[in-house]
Structures are given as C-alpha cells and as structure tokens.
C-alpha cells in the first residue's frame, strides 16, 4: 500500500473515532456504577513458578493469584458487567479478542468478547503452553502453542462463562466471558463500569465475579440519561 494512502486512511480513522468519543449518540442512555465488596476476601497467595524458571525469572517478586482482585475503597476488579436482558443480540465485531500468555499468566485474567467473535491466543513466553478452556455448552478443545508458533484462532457460538486453564502450568487460570451483545465491560482496579449507547428501554444488568457468582439488577433507561447502579458482593474468607 502506498505511503500517502496509508496516511490519509489513518487521519480519517482518527477523526472518525475522535468524533465518536466526543459525540456519543445523543439518543443513547448510559448505565454506570461501581462494584464493591463487604467482609474480608481471602488472601491471594503468591504463585510459586519455580518449576518454570523461564517465567519465574521475569518477576522480582512473585505475582499473586488473581481469583479475587481488589482495589482501594473495597472495589472489585475483573468483574464482568453486561446487559443480560432487554437488548437484542449484536453481530460479532470484526476485530479479534486477544488473550496473551506472558510470564506464565493469562493477560487479561478475564477476557470478555462476543459470540462468534474471533478469539486470538498468543504465546509470548519461551515455554510451551497448552490452553484448555473448559466450557459446558460450547465445544471443548485444548491446543498446544510452542514458542514461535502462530497465534491460535478460535470462536465460540454460544454465550457462556468459560474457565480457562493451562494444561502445562497448573497455576495459570483465566476466564472467557462470551456474550451475546456489545454492551459489556470488565471493571478495573477502581471497580467502576460504564455501559453507554443504550437505546431507551428496560434492561437487566448482571455483574459476574468468578468466585462470588453473579448478581442482577433491572434498570430502565430513557433517551440520553445516565443511571447509576452499584453492585456489592459478599466476600468469602476462604
């Protein structure tokens, strides 16, 4: 492709995305909020990677397990917040959802993407991994990825929360959240979530955390307004 064409295309794409961010659909509502916990969550133990020196040496202090990741103010990260009812199914976007094996961990720990969207699995480590998602509704498979092999491309055709493990490294665990529509997000350290671009209607919002299960709330949104809801999970000490 010629240099000039690439520059023009790039500028056009930048302008379009800037417009989209600055000017969300004025008729669309937003649901926003925060996910927190009460009680004392179990202490996340450091992961012993001594059996895999090529990964262990990437850390100055060993990383901790990510089953429950908290943030300041008793917030919960890695919670999938999504519209479970009230929105039609959306076609899968053309971009791929990327799941990376790096430092013998899965990045991100929870990957949310859509039904029939391409899932791209990448191995950035010097060791072989064998990714093994454990679905109940979808087809089960596992694939080895020696270092230097091309990314694995897969997709799921049913909505489901799927635990993911590595067959070679027992401490490696992650999750796939395969969802039906495009209204979803995964909380970060601050526990907050925002679901924009919602046409007016009644929605059920569900928050899912891998240890604590899920909770749902119904929200009605009329054009353009922002509604705030919060989720509070009860932490388990063990």
């Amino acid at each position: 492709m010629q240099m000039k064409q690439m520059v023009i295309a790039g500028v056009v794409m930048l302008a379009a995305s800037a417009l989209a961010v600055a000017n969300p659909n004025p008729a669309g509502g937003t649901i926003t909020g925060k996910v927190t916990y009460t009680g004392t969550p179990a202490k996340m133990k450091p992961i012993d990677m001594s059996k895999e020196p090529s990964c262990a040496k990437m850390y100055t202090t060993p990383p901790t397990a990510e089953t429950v990741v908290t943030g300041p103010g008793d917030t919960l990260a890695d919670v999938v917040v999504y519209i479970s009812a009230g929105a039609p199914d959306d076609p899968a976007p053309s971009s791929a959802a990327v799941f990376t094996q790096k430092g013998c961990r899965y990045i991100p720990h929870v990957l949310a993407f859509q039904v029939n969207q391409e899932l791209k699995i990448v191995n950035e480590d010097q060791t072989s991994h064998n990714i093994h998602p454990l679905p109940k509704l979808n087809r089960e498979w596992n694939k080895s990825q020696p270092p230097g092999t091309p990314p694995i491309s897969e997709k799921y055709d049913k909505a489901e929360f799927i635990p993911v493990k590595c067959n070679v490294h027992p401490w490696m665990h992650g999750n796939f959240a395969v969802l039906k529509n495009s209204h979803y997000t995964v909380t970060g350290d601050n526990g907050t979530f925002t679901l924009p671009n919602l046409p007016p209607g009644k929605y059920t919002v569900t928050a899912w955390q891998e240890s604590y299960g899920d909770q749902s709330q119904d929200v009605t949104v009329s054009g353009g307004e922002t509604k705030t809801i919060n989720f509070v999970f009860k932490a388990k000490p063990y």
């Binding site: 072989s128 694939k143 990825q145 020696p146 091309p150 070679v168």
Partner: protein
Amino acid sequence: MSETSAQQAHVHAPPEGFLRKYVFSLDHKVIGKQYYALALVAVFTGMFLSWLMRIHMVWPNAKIPGLELLSKVGAPGGIMTPEYYLSLMTMHGTLMVFFVLTNAPFAAFGNYFLPIQIGAEDMAFPRFNMMSFWTTFVAWAVLMLAFVIPDGPPIAGWTEYTPLSAIGKDAGPGMEWGASLWGISIALFCVGSLLGALNFIATTLDLRAKGMTLMRMPLCTWAWFITSCIALLAFAVLLPACILLILDRHAGTSFFIPAGIVASDRLQPHSGGSPLLWQHLFWFFGHPEVYIAILPSMGIVSHILINSMRKPLLSAKVVIYSMMSIGFLSYMVWGHHMFLSGMNPMSGLAFSFPTLTITIPATILTLIWLGSLYGANIQINSASLFALGFISMFVAGGVSGFLLAQPSIDIYLHATYFVVGHFHMVMGVASLFGVFAGTYFWFPKMTGRFMNEGLGKLHFWITFIGTYCIFMPFHYLGLIGNVRRYQSFVDDYMAPYLGVHKFMTIAALITGAGQLIFLFNLIYSRFKGKPAPDNPWNATSLEWSIPSPPPWNNFGGKHPVVYHDPFQYGVKGSKGDFVMQDSPEQVPASGD
C-alpha cells in the same frame, strides 16, 4: 504316528484366480510374504517416526518442512507440539514391537518356512492362517487410523499405562479416540497372533514328515515352535487387558481407575480400580513378548551360522534346551518392569532372581555360538555378516540387563535412557539383524534370485557401525540420569549432554538412509536379481531340497522322508561337505 493321514487330510487344490492366489491366499508361503510386506511398511513408518522424534529432540523449536501436512494440530507452522512428539513416540513403539518384531521374524519367516522345514504341504489350519494375517492387517489399519482422526494418535506410550490411558479425553490430547483405536488395534492383533500361534503349534506337532523327529527339526523351527507356545499364553492375557481398558474408557467401568482422580479440573466418575493391575497384565504379556521378538532371530541366526560355518553348533540339544528355559523363565520376571511401581518391596527381590537367572541360558547360547566359531570355516556373505553381527549386538544389548535386573540399581536407572538403550539394542537391533540375515539367506529360495551382494555388504556395514553409534551413547546418557520420553531436555543437568543427542540424531539419520539401500536391493533383486539355483548355500534343511521359488504344494505332491538332522556339515557328502536331510546316503557317525 498318523502323520501320513494328517498330512493327507490337509491336501487342498491349487489356488485359482487372482484373489485366491495373492490376496485371500490359504498358502502359508503367500501369507508369510504378506506378513513380511506388512512388517516392511511398518518398519519404514516406524523408522520415519523415529527420525522426526530425534530431529525434534535436538531442535525442538525448529520448523520441520512438510510436518504441518501430516498434522495441522500436531505441528502448527511446522513446529511439533509436545503432545505430537509423544504421539509419534507411541506409534513408533507400537508399530515396531507389534507389527515389526512380532511379525517379521516370527509370523513372516515362520509361516513361510516352518511347514517346509518339517516336510509339510501347508500349515495345519490354512484358513485360520489366512484369518490370522488379515486380522493383523485390520489391526494395523485401525492403528494407522489414529493418524488421521482430529485428536491424533494416543500419547501414553506403547505401554499405555493407566489411569492416563483409561480416563479418556480429560487425560490430555490424543487420549480420546486415539487411545481407543490403540486398544482395538492391539486387541485385534492379539487375536491374529493367537490364531497364528495355534497354527504353528499344531503344525509342528502333527504334520512332520516321516523321519522328522523333533530333534531333527532345524533350530529356527524349534525357535518358532517355542515362540508360539510363549505367544499363546502371553497374547491370551493382553487381549482381555485391552478389552478391560476399552470398557473403562467407554462403558464406565473402573478396572484400572481408583476413586478421587481429578484431571482437567474434573473429578473422574470412577472408583475401585487399580492402575497397578494394568501394569501386571501388560507386563505379564510384555516380558514374554520381548522374548517372542528375540527367540525367532536366535533360531534364524543359529540356522544360518551352521550353514555359513560349514559345521554344526557344539550342541544343538543345549541350544534347544536353552531356548526352552528362556521361554519358561520369561513368565517369571515381569515384575522387573515394575520395581518402583509401589508393589510390595519383597516382590522386587522375588522378580530380580529369575531375571538374573535368565542370564544363564542367554550366556550358554552366546558361548555356544562363539565356541562353535572356533575351528570353523566361516563363509562371509550378507546373510552370515548379519548373523555374526547378531552375536555382537545380542551381547551389547544383553549385558546392560545385569544392571537393570537389580532393583537397587534400577532405583537410579529406571526410566532413563539406559533402559531405552538396552531394549533398542536387543530388540531394535539384534532381533532385526536376525530378520536381515534371514532375508538375505532365504531371498533366493523365495524368489529364485539372489539379492545384490555388494549392496548387502554395504547395508551391513552402515547398519552395524551406525546402530552402535546410535545406541551405545544411550547407555552413557542413562548413567547420568537422562530421563526418557521427554520431547526436549529443559533440565539444568542435561545442558552439557545435548551434544551427545545431536551425535545420535545424525547417526540415526545416516543409518536410516542406509536402510533405503536394503529396500532398493529387495525390490530391484525381486525382478532383476541374478538367478539362483535351488540350493545356493549348499544347505541341508528341507527348504533347499525344493525348487526356488517353491511350487504351491511345496513338495510337488510327494511326501519327503527324512534321514538326518540338519547339522550334517563338514562331512563327506555326495554333493560336497554336507548331507541334506532327505538324502538317504549314510554319514559316518559323528560325536553329536
């Protein structure tokens, strides 16, 4: 003895039509050649797999051109995955032990020559014989199917230990249908081998020609007969073991799976079984199996040596009794594969003593072979080179057994390359040398043409020197604790020894290429080889008294009469320094 009427009962009409002549033949000679052809395909497949394994061990992250065509899942981008290495390793072992080492020296040559050597027109049960080959063929086809199914071949090794092989797909890739196909294939193989063994035994006992007493049978016939007796008991145990394994995998039984197994994050729905039971059943078969692999070659080598030396062995009776003792003792030693498995430690000693005792008949045989060479007039040709090479290889492979037979030493050497070196040398090399020797020796009889001598000698030297280069270092690596069945060596202590692996890989590739010379020689000589007379080696046994190649009914409707044992060499015979078994001429009394 009613051998004449027994022989008459088995007279059948000459075969007619393409299918009856070449495909579903009842003729033991055609069946023997069919077994040989199957073994030939299996050995080159197995050898090709070993090349892939050896290349991968040395260059684990290399892109092997074309490998992705063999399996897209197993070698994405041409880079072999760890489980595909194990698949290739499992198929290599299964093909080699069953479809090569049981088929070639025993089923192939035994089928072809046992009836002729005892003066019979065919086997006792020609239909069983045909079924036995075709069952073995179907077994091979079922096994090869594992290469084309999506999940690939099984990864649990030719020994398929439970629970890894029993719990199904939660055990890992290849353990879904691949392992089931393995179980079905081997169960079928057992059936084929049982039919074959029955045939050999019945034929040997019932169809010997007049004057062919048991003690006048050639030593290879004895070896086939003893091997059949071993095979009858051994395969009769493996067959139910495979059936139980298939039931565990598909019918929800728990013969081999205890409670509380968690694999792939799932608690397995089994309880009450014993993984140790599989090991007992498997090795109760598996140890006699390795003697099934070596005894026929011992017989073939003895048979050829006598002819090449132009003198009998020091004592044929001692050789026969030694082979029988090996057969008998082979049933008492299976636990030496299981010293560290968690059996009662007393059994370690209980199995160690018979294992060490087998050294005695093995040593007797070796000393008889060596001692017989003294004062002989050894003729060197491709066949005798391999027969002599067998002695060297059998000793090389056998002495490492001194160490492995002792449980205390096995604590250190178990599951290391020391074991792999040991069994490759005795089975993979020595036994195969017997097959090579038999091929060069009997090719003129089977086809009426010689194999090319120059190519045969070249094949011998590449193979003899090459296999020492490949397999001797296995023992050294074992001594430093190089663990087996690893697809690559990532442990710290292995770093200084990776160069040895490279050496072995290069030796394997060169030696493997040398086998193509043999294949070419085989095929070329079949059509363009120098025509051979009926008795090119001036040999005594009955196969050399009939035309090359033999007519469909071996002896042309006549019933041979036997006057001598097959060891009449170094005597003043009418045709030279030998007297054939069916020659009525008198021989001056000898010491044996």
